[in-house]
Symmetry: C2
Subunit: 194 residues, 2 copies
DNA sequence: ATCGATACGGTAGTAAGCTATCAATTACTG
DNA sequence: CAGTAATTGATAGCTTACTACCGTATCGAT
Protein backbone atom coordinates (compact mmCIF):
# COMPACT_ATOMS: atom_id res chain seq x y z
CA UNK A 1 0.00 0.00 0.00
CA UNK A 2 2.23 2.80 -1.20
CA UNK A 3 -0.11 5.72 -0.67
CA UNK A 4 1.53 9.09 -1.01
CA UNK A 5 0.57 9.97 2.53
CA UNK A 6 2.86 10.91 5.30
CA UNK A 7 3.26 8.38 8.09
CA UNK A 8 1.34 10.42 10.65
CA UNK A 9 -1.55 10.78 8.24
CA UNK A 10 -1.71 7.04 7.75
CA UNK A 11 -1.68 6.56 11.50
CA UNK A 12 -4.50 9.06 11.95
CA UNK A 13 -6.58 7.23 9.38
CA UNK A 14 -6.19 3.92 11.14
CA UNK A 15 -7.06 5.39 14.50
CA UNK A 16 -10.11 7.08 13.05
CA UNK A 17 -11.28 3.87 11.40
CA UNK A 18 -10.86 1.92 14.61
CA UNK A 19 -12.71 4.51 16.63
CA UNK A 20 -15.44 4.73 14.00
CA UNK A 21 -15.99 1.00 14.10
CA UNK A 22 -16.37 1.10 17.87
CA UNK A 23 -18.66 4.10 17.91
CA UNK A 24 -20.85 2.82 15.09
CA UNK A 25 -21.08 -0.55 16.77
CA UNK A 26 -22.22 0.92 20.05
CA UNK A 27 -25.52 2.76 19.65
CA UNK A 28 -27.54 1.87 16.59
CA UNK A 29 -25.57 3.89 14.10
CA UNK A 30 -26.14 7.11 15.94
CA UNK A 31 -22.91 8.33 17.42
CA UNK A 32 -21.54 11.67 16.45
CA UNK A 33 -18.49 12.27 14.35
CA UNK A 34 -17.20 14.52 17.10
CA UNK A 35 -17.28 11.52 19.36
CA UNK A 36 -15.36 9.43 16.86
CA UNK A 37 -12.71 12.09 16.44
CA UNK A 38 -12.41 12.44 20.18
CA UNK A 39 -12.11 8.71 20.73
CA UNK A 40 -9.50 8.54 18.00
CA UNK A 41 -7.54 11.29 19.74
CA UNK A 42 -7.76 13.42 16.66
CA UNK A 43 -9.23 16.82 15.81
CA UNK A 44 -12.54 16.93 14.03
CA UNK A 45 -10.91 18.69 11.09
CA UNK A 46 -8.58 15.75 10.61
CA UNK A 47 -11.48 13.38 10.48
CA UNK A 48 -13.23 15.40 7.81
CA UNK A 49 -10.01 15.83 5.91
CA UNK A 50 -9.72 12.11 5.38
CA UNK A 51 -13.41 11.21 5.27
CA UNK A 52 -15.57 13.93 3.77
CA UNK A 53 -18.76 12.66 5.34
CA UNK A 54 -20.37 10.05 7.51
CA UNK A 55 -21.23 7.70 4.68
CA UNK A 56 -17.76 7.64 3.23
CA UNK A 57 -16.31 7.01 6.65
CA UNK A 58 -18.70 4.12 7.17
CA UNK A 59 -17.77 2.69 3.79
CA UNK A 60 -14.11 2.84 4.61
CA UNK A 61 -14.79 0.92 7.79
CA UNK A 62 -16.86 -1.64 5.92
CA UNK A 63 -14.12 -1.90 3.33
CA UNK A 64 -11.63 -2.94 5.95
CA UNK A 65 -13.93 -5.54 7.46
CA UNK A 66 -14.66 -6.84 4.01
CA UNK A 67 -10.97 -7.09 3.17
CA UNK A 68 -10.15 -9.03 6.30
CA UNK A 69 -13.15 -11.36 6.41
CA UNK A 70 -14.47 -11.83 2.91
CA UNK A 71 -11.55 -11.49 0.56
CA UNK A 72 -9.74 -14.54 1.93
CA UNK A 73 -12.91 -16.53 1.34
CA UNK A 74 -13.09 -15.34 -2.23
CA UNK A 75 -9.49 -16.21 -2.90
CA UNK A 76 -9.89 -19.67 -1.49
CA UNK A 77 -12.98 -20.33 -3.55
CA UNK A 78 -11.58 -19.24 -6.85
CA UNK A 79 -10.48 -22.83 -7.15
CA UNK A 80 -13.60 -24.59 -5.94
CA UNK A 81 -15.81 -26.73 -8.14
CA UNK A 82 -18.90 -26.60 -5.92
CA UNK A 83 -20.51 -23.31 -6.85
CA UNK A 84 -23.44 -23.74 -4.56
CA UNK A 85 -21.42 -24.10 -1.43
CA UNK A 86 -19.02 -21.36 -2.52
CA UNK A 87 -21.83 -18.91 -2.91
CA UNK A 88 -23.56 -20.03 0.22
CA UNK A 89 -20.42 -19.51 2.26
CA UNK A 90 -19.78 -16.05 0.88
CA UNK A 91 -23.40 -15.04 1.32
CA UNK A 92 -23.47 -16.29 4.86
CA UNK A 93 -20.31 -14.47 5.74
CA UNK A 94 -21.69 -11.26 4.31
CA UNK A 95 -24.97 -11.73 6.12
CA UNK A 96 -23.08 -12.35 9.34
CA UNK A 97 -21.24 -9.09 9.01
CA UNK A 98 -24.40 -7.17 8.20
CA UNK A 99 -26.10 -8.70 11.18
CA UNK A 100 -23.22 -8.08 13.56
CA UNK A 101 -22.49 -4.53 12.44
CA UNK A 102 -25.96 -3.05 12.42
CA UNK A 103 -24.86 0.41 13.37
CA UNK A 104 -22.30 0.42 10.62
CA UNK A 105 -24.83 -0.75 8.08
CA UNK A 106 -27.20 2.01 9.11
CA UNK A 107 -24.49 4.58 8.49
CA UNK A 108 -23.57 2.96 5.21
CA UNK A 109 -26.60 4.24 3.37
CA UNK A 110 -27.13 1.78 0.56
CA UNK A 111 -26.07 -1.70 1.58
CA UNK A 112 -26.90 -3.58 -1.63
CA UNK A 113 -25.01 -1.09 -3.75
CA UNK A 114 -22.01 -0.99 -1.48
CA UNK A 115 -21.89 -4.76 -1.25
CA UNK A 116 -22.03 -5.17 -4.98
CA UNK A 117 -19.28 -2.63 -5.49
CA UNK A 118 -17.02 -4.57 -3.20
CA UNK A 119 -17.87 -7.85 -4.84
CA UNK A 120 -17.36 -6.34 -8.27
CA UNK A 121 -13.77 -5.56 -7.42
CA UNK A 122 -13.30 -9.28 -7.28
CA UNK A 123 -15.33 -10.09 -10.34
CA UNK A 124 -12.44 -12.16 -11.64
CA UNK A 125 -12.95 -14.58 -8.80
CA UNK A 126 -16.47 -15.45 -9.79
CA UNK A 127 -15.98 -15.82 -13.50
CA UNK A 128 -14.26 -19.24 -13.35
CA UNK A 129 -16.72 -20.49 -10.74
CA UNK A 130 -19.51 -19.65 -13.12
CA UNK A 131 -17.84 -21.25 -16.12
CA UNK A 132 -17.07 -24.50 -14.37
CA UNK A 133 -20.43 -24.56 -12.63
CA UNK A 134 -22.19 -24.27 -15.93
CA UNK A 135 -19.95 -26.87 -17.55
CA UNK A 136 -20.65 -29.30 -14.73
CA UNK A 137 -24.38 -28.64 -14.95
CA UNK A 138 -24.60 -27.08 -11.51
CA UNK A 139 -25.52 -23.57 -12.62
CA UNK A 140 -28.22 -22.60 -15.09
CA UNK A 141 -26.79 -21.71 -18.48
CA UNK A 142 -28.61 -18.41 -18.80
CA UNK A 143 -26.53 -16.81 -16.05
CA UNK A 144 -23.84 -14.27 -16.80
CA UNK A 145 -20.89 -13.26 -14.65
CA UNK A 146 -22.48 -10.04 -13.40
CA UNK A 147 -25.40 -11.99 -11.96
CA UNK A 148 -23.40 -13.39 -9.10
CA UNK A 149 -22.49 -10.16 -7.33
CA UNK A 150 -25.99 -8.87 -7.97
CA UNK A 151 -27.71 -11.87 -6.51
CA UNK A 152 -25.41 -12.01 -3.52
CA UNK A 153 -25.88 -8.31 -2.85
CA UNK A 154 -29.65 -8.60 -3.11
CA UNK A 155 -29.84 -11.55 -0.81
CA UNK A 156 -27.51 -10.18 1.80
CA UNK A 157 -28.98 -6.70 1.96
CA UNK A 158 -32.51 -7.98 2.21
CA UNK A 159 -31.70 -10.64 4.76
CA UNK A 160 -29.80 -8.27 6.98
CA UNK A 161 -32.82 -6.04 7.19
CA UNK A 162 -35.48 -8.70 7.45
CA UNK A 163 -34.21 -11.77 9.22
CA UNK A 164 -32.31 -11.94 12.47
CA UNK A 165 -32.48 -15.64 13.17
CA UNK A 166 -29.59 -17.67 11.80
CA UNK A 167 -31.52 -20.76 10.77
CA UNK A 168 -34.11 -18.75 8.88
CA UNK A 169 -31.41 -16.79 7.17
CA UNK A 170 -29.80 -19.98 6.03
CA UNK A 171 -33.10 -21.23 4.71
CA UNK A 172 -33.61 -18.12 2.59
CA UNK A 173 -30.11 -18.21 1.25
CA UNK A 174 -30.60 -21.81 0.31
CA UNK A 175 -33.89 -20.93 -1.33
CA UNK A 176 -32.32 -18.20 -3.39
CA UNK A 177 -29.51 -20.40 -4.55
CA UNK A 178 -32.03 -22.94 -5.69
CA UNK A 179 -33.00 -20.42 -8.33
CA UNK A 180 -29.58 -20.84 -9.89
CA UNK A 181 -30.04 -24.53 -10.52
CA UNK A 182 -30.35 -25.48 -14.18
CA UNK A 183 -33.49 -27.57 -13.55
CA UNK A 184 -35.38 -24.31 -13.27
CA UNK A 185 -34.57 -22.74 -16.55
CA UNK A 186 -35.51 -25.96 -18.28
CA UNK A 187 -38.57 -26.84 -16.22
CA UNK A 188 -40.44 -23.61 -16.65
CA UNK A 189 -41.30 -22.52 -20.16
CA UNK A 190 -43.36 -19.77 -18.53
CA UNK A 191 -40.15 -18.45 -17.02
CA UNK A 192 -38.39 -17.61 -20.29
CA UNK A 193 -35.80 -14.88 -20.60
CA UNK A 194 -36.93 -11.25 -20.63
CA UNK B 1 -61.39 6.67 7.80
CA UNK B 2 -62.93 8.04 10.97
CA UNK B 3 -59.85 9.48 12.60
CA UNK B 4 -60.60 11.64 15.60
CA UNK B 5 -58.96 14.59 13.92
CA UNK B 6 -60.52 17.92 13.19
CA UNK B 7 -61.22 18.67 9.56
CA UNK B 8 -58.53 21.31 9.24
CA UNK B 9 -56.00 18.89 10.68
CA UNK B 10 -56.92 16.27 8.10
CA UNK B 11 -56.57 18.86 5.37
CA UNK B 12 -53.14 19.91 6.63
CA UNK B 13 -51.98 16.32 6.59
CA UNK B 14 -53.01 15.82 3.00
CA UNK B 15 -51.33 19.01 1.88
CA UNK B 16 -48.15 18.07 3.71
CA UNK B 17 -48.11 14.62 2.16
CA UNK B 18 -48.61 16.04 -1.32
CA UNK B 19 -45.88 18.59 -0.83
CA UNK B 20 -43.57 15.97 0.65
CA UNK B 21 -44.03 13.71 -2.31
CA UNK B 22 -43.14 16.54 -4.69
CA UNK B 23 -40.15 17.72 -2.70
CA UNK B 24 -38.77 14.22 -2.15
CA UNK B 25 -39.22 13.46 -5.83
CA UNK B 26 -37.30 16.51 -6.91
CA UNK B 27 -33.72 16.40 -5.62
CA UNK B 28 -32.43 12.99 -4.66
CA UNK B 29 -34.11 12.82 -1.30
CA UNK B 30 -32.48 15.95 -0.05
CA UNK B 31 -35.02 18.68 0.32
CA UNK B 32 -35.57 20.28 3.66
CA UNK B 33 -38.60 19.84 5.83
CA UNK B 34 -38.87 23.60 5.96
CA UNK B 35 -39.29 23.54 2.23
CA UNK B 36 -42.02 20.95 2.46
CA UNK B 37 -43.92 22.90 5.09
CA UNK B 38 -43.60 26.04 3.05
CA UNK B 39 -44.79 24.33 -0.12
CA UNK B 40 -47.71 22.86 1.78
CA UNK B 41 -48.60 26.33 3.04
CA UNK B 42 -48.25 25.17 6.61
CA UNK B 43 -46.07 26.12 9.56
CA UNK B 44 -43.12 23.95 10.35
CA UNK B 45 -44.60 23.18 13.76
CA UNK B 46 -47.67 21.72 12.12
CA UNK B 47 -45.55 19.44 10.01
CA UNK B 48 -43.69 18.12 13.04
CA UNK B 49 -46.91 17.81 14.95
CA UNK B 50 -48.23 15.27 12.48
CA UNK B 51 -44.97 13.67 11.41
CA UNK B 52 -42.37 13.53 14.16
CA UNK B 53 -39.45 13.11 11.80
CA UNK B 54 -38.32 12.80 8.24
CA UNK B 55 -38.52 9.03 8.11
CA UNK B 56 -42.04 8.84 9.43
CA UNK B 57 -43.11 11.46 6.95
CA UNK B 58 -41.55 9.52 4.11
CA UNK B 59 -43.26 6.35 5.28
CA UNK B 60 -46.62 8.06 5.33
CA UNK B 61 -46.05 9.17 1.76
CA UNK B 62 -45.03 5.67 0.74
CA UNK B 63 -48.05 4.30 2.52
CA UNK B 64 -50.35 6.37 0.37
CA UNK B 65 -48.66 5.35 -2.84
CA UNK B 66 -48.79 1.76 -1.75
CA UNK B 67 -52.48 2.00 -0.96
CA UNK B 68 -53.36 3.47 -4.31
CA UNK B 69 -51.12 1.37 -6.53
CA UNK B 70 -50.43 -1.94 -4.84
CA UNK B 71 -53.46 -2.74 -2.72
CA UNK B 72 -55.83 -2.99 -5.70
CA UNK B 73 -53.43 -5.46 -7.25
CA UNK B 74 -53.40 -7.55 -4.10
CA UNK B 75 -57.16 -7.58 -3.88
CA UNK B 76 -57.53 -8.62 -7.47
CA UNK B 77 -55.02 -11.40 -7.08
CA UNK B 78 -56.46 -12.91 -3.96
CA UNK B 79 -58.55 -14.94 -6.37
CA UNK B 80 -55.91 -15.89 -8.90
CA UNK B 81 -54.70 -19.45 -9.41
CA UNK B 82 -51.42 -18.55 -11.10
CA UNK B 83 -49.10 -17.78 -8.20
CA UNK B 84 -46.11 -17.07 -10.37
CA UNK B 85 -47.74 -14.33 -12.36
CA UNK B 86 -49.40 -12.92 -9.26
CA UNK B 87 -46.11 -12.54 -7.51
CA UNK B 88 -44.36 -11.29 -10.59
CA UNK B 89 -46.93 -8.56 -11.07
CA UNK B 90 -46.80 -7.42 -7.47
CA UNK B 91 -43.03 -7.47 -7.45
CA UNK B 92 -42.81 -5.52 -10.64
CA UNK B 93 -45.21 -2.92 -9.41
CA UNK B 94 -43.23 -2.51 -6.22
CA UNK B 95 -39.98 -2.30 -8.13
CA UNK B 96 -41.53 0.30 -10.41
CA UNK B 97 -42.43 2.46 -7.47
CA UNK B 98 -39.01 2.12 -5.90
CA UNK B 99 -37.40 3.03 -9.18
CA UNK B 100 -39.66 6.00 -9.83
CA UNK B 101 -39.55 7.44 -6.31
CA UNK B 102 -35.84 7.34 -5.60
CA UNK B 103 -35.84 10.39 -3.41
CA UNK B 104 -38.64 9.00 -1.35
CA UNK B 105 -36.88 5.68 -0.97
CA UNK B 106 -33.74 7.44 0.20
CA UNK B 107 -35.73 9.22 2.90
CA UNK B 108 -37.49 6.01 3.84
CA UNK B 109 -34.49 4.53 5.58
CA UNK B 110 -35.02 0.81 5.40
CA UNK B 111 -36.83 -0.16 2.24
CA UNK B 112 -36.97 -3.92 2.74
CA UNK B 113 -38.38 -3.59 6.22
CA UNK B 114 -40.92 -0.97 5.25
CA UNK B 115 -42.02 -2.97 2.24
CA UNK B 116 -42.51 -6.09 4.25
CA UNK B 117 -44.50 -4.25 6.88
CA UNK B 118 -46.88 -3.03 4.25
CA UNK B 119 -47.17 -6.44 2.67
CA UNK B 120 -47.72 -8.03 6.04
CA UNK B 121 -50.80 -5.94 6.56
CA UNK B 122 -52.24 -7.91 3.69
CA UNK B 123 -50.93 -11.27 4.74
CA UNK B 124 -54.42 -12.68 4.36
CA UNK B 125 -54.20 -12.07 0.65
CA UNK B 126 -51.22 -14.31 0.16
CA UNK B 127 -52.27 -17.21 2.29
CA UNK B 128 -54.82 -18.64 -0.18
CA UNK B 129 -52.48 -18.06 -3.10
CA UNK B 130 -49.88 -20.14 -1.30
CA UNK B 131 -52.31 -22.90 -0.42
CA UNK B 132 -53.68 -23.25 -3.92
CA UNK B 133 -50.28 -22.89 -5.48
CA UNK B 134 -48.95 -25.72 -3.38
CA UNK B 135 -52.02 -27.87 -4.05
CA UNK B 136 -51.64 -27.36 -7.78
CA UNK B 137 -47.93 -28.15 -7.61
CA UNK B 138 -46.85 -24.65 -8.64
CA UNK B 139 -45.17 -23.71 -5.37
CA UNK B 140 -42.68 -25.74 -3.41
CA UNK B 141 -44.22 -27.41 -0.41
CA UNK B 142 -41.62 -26.20 2.09
CA UNK B 143 -42.80 -22.61 1.82
CA UNK B 144 -44.78 -20.95 4.57
CA UNK B 145 -47.03 -17.91 4.35
CA UNK B 146 -44.49 -15.51 5.81
CA UNK B 147 -42.04 -16.35 3.04
CA UNK B 148 -43.95 -14.45 0.42
CA UNK B 149 -43.71 -10.96 1.89
CA UNK B 150 -40.11 -11.65 2.83
CA UNK B 151 -39.10 -12.74 -0.61
CA UNK B 152 -40.94 -9.92 -2.32
CA UNK B 153 -39.39 -7.38 0.02
CA UNK B 154 -35.90 -8.78 -0.52
CA UNK B 155 -36.22 -8.80 -4.26
CA UNK B 156 -37.72 -5.37 -4.56
CA UNK B 157 -35.36 -3.61 -2.21
CA UNK B 158 -32.31 -5.12 -3.82
CA UNK B 159 -33.47 -4.51 -7.34
CA UNK B 160 -34.38 -0.91 -6.70
CA UNK B 161 -30.85 -0.25 -5.53
CA UNK B 162 -29.01 -2.36 -8.05
CA UNK B 163 -30.80 -2.48 -11.35
CA UNK B 164 -32.23 0.41 -13.28
CA UNK B 165 -33.00 -1.25 -16.58
CA UNK B 166 -36.48 -2.71 -16.86
CA UNK B 167 -35.62 -5.82 -18.83
CA UNK B 168 -32.85 -6.79 -16.45
CA UNK B 169 -35.09 -6.21 -13.51
CA UNK B 170 -37.67 -8.51 -15.02
CA UNK B 171 -35.03 -11.13 -15.56
CA UNK B 172 -33.97 -11.09 -11.93
CA UNK B 173 -37.50 -11.22 -10.68
CA UNK B 174 -38.14 -14.18 -12.90
CA UNK B 175 -34.98 -15.82 -11.64
CA UNK B 176 -36.00 -15.36 -8.02
CA UNK B 177 -39.42 -16.77 -8.60
CA UNK B 178 -37.86 -19.81 -10.15
CA UNK B 179 -36.60 -20.63 -6.70
CA UNK B 180 -40.17 -21.11 -5.56
CA UNK B 181 -40.83 -23.90 -7.99
CA UNK B 182 -41.29 -27.33 -6.44
CA UNK B 183 -38.78 -28.93 -8.82
CA UNK B 184 -36.04 -27.34 -6.73
CA UNK B 185 -36.83 -28.69 -3.35
CA UNK B 186 -37.05 -32.16 -4.81
CA UNK B 187 -34.06 -31.96 -7.13
CA UNK B 188 -31.51 -30.87 -4.56
CA UNK B 189 -30.97 -33.08 -1.56
CA UNK B 190 -28.06 -30.79 -0.74
CA UNK B 191 -30.57 -27.97 -0.30
CA UNK B 192 -32.57 -29.48 2.54
CA UNK B 193 -34.29 -27.44 5.17
CA UNK B 194 -32.24 -25.71 7.87
C1' DA C 1 -74.12 32.51 18.65
C1' DT C 2 -71.26 30.83 22.15
C1' DC C 3 -67.73 28.44 24.05
C1' DG C 4 -64.35 24.90 24.93
C1' DA C 5 -61.26 21.99 22.83
C1' DT C 6 -58.28 21.38 19.07
C1' DA C 7 -55.11 22.88 15.81
C1' DC C 8 -52.41 26.54 14.19
C1' DG C 9 -48.19 29.78 13.09
C1' DG C 10 -44.11 31.82 14.89
C1' DT C 11 -40.18 31.87 17.25
C1' DA C 12 -36.35 30.70 20.14
C1' DG C 13 -33.09 27.27 21.15
C1' DT C 14 -30.18 22.88 20.95
C1' DA C 15 -27.44 19.60 18.49
C1' DA C 16 -25.21 17.65 14.58
C1' DG C 17 -23.21 17.60 9.93
C1' DC C 18 -20.24 19.95 7.31
C1' DT C 19 -16.98 23.92 5.36
C1' DA C 20 -13.29 27.08 5.73
C1' DT C 21 -9.31 29.17 7.62
C1' DC C 22 -4.83 29.51 9.83
C1' DA C 23 -1.03 29.37 12.82
C1' DA C 24 1.61 25.68 14.83
C1' DT C 25 3.55 21.13 14.67
C1' DT C 26 5.58 17.17 12.51
C1' DA C 27 7.49 14.08 8.91
C1' DC C 28 10.50 13.55 5.17
C1' DT C 29 14.54 15.15 1.94
C1' DG C 30 19.07 16.26 1.10
C1' DC D 1 20.34 18.87 11.10
C1' DA D 2 18.12 22.32 8.54
C1' DG D 3 14.45 23.53 5.30
C1' DT D 4 10.25 22.67 3.25
C1' DA D 5 6.07 20.59 2.44
C1' DA D 6 2.47 17.97 4.48
C1' DT D 7 -0.49 17.44 8.37
C1' DT D 8 -2.64 18.92 12.39
C1' DG D 9 -5.90 21.11 16.10
C1' DA D 10 -8.72 24.86 17.11
C1' DT D 11 -12.12 27.74 16.13
C1' DA D 12 -15.75 30.24 13.85
C1' DG D 13 -19.72 29.80 10.99
C1' DC D 14 -23.57 27.90 8.16
C1' DT D 15 -27.50 24.73 7.50
C1' DT D 16 -30.83 21.51 8.83
C1' DA D 17 -33.23 18.30 11.95
C1' DC D 18 -35.80 18.52 15.83
C1' DT D 19 -37.99 20.32 20.53
C1' DA D 20 -40.54 23.43 23.34
C1' DC D 21 -43.49 26.98 24.15
C1' DC D 22 -47.25 30.29 23.60
C1' DG D 23 -50.73 33.34 22.03
C1' DT D 24 -54.12 33.15 18.36
C1' DA D 25 -57.41 31.25 15.16
C1' DT D 26 -60.65 27.78 13.89
C1' DC D 27 -63.58 23.85 14.34
C1' DG D 28 -67.69 21.70 15.98
C1' DA D 29 -71.04 20.64 19.50
C1' DT D 30 -74.59 22.64 22.20
Amino acid sequence: MATGLRSDARASIVRILDAARRVFAAGDGTGTLDRIAQEAGVGIATLYRHFPNRQLLARAVYDRIFASEVEPLLAEFGRSDAPRSVLLDVAERLADIADRERGLVAALGNLPKVTREFLDRHGDTFAPVLVRGQAAGNLRPDMVAADIPNILAMAVAGLGALVNDGATRRRYLSLMLDALNPAQAAALPEAGRA
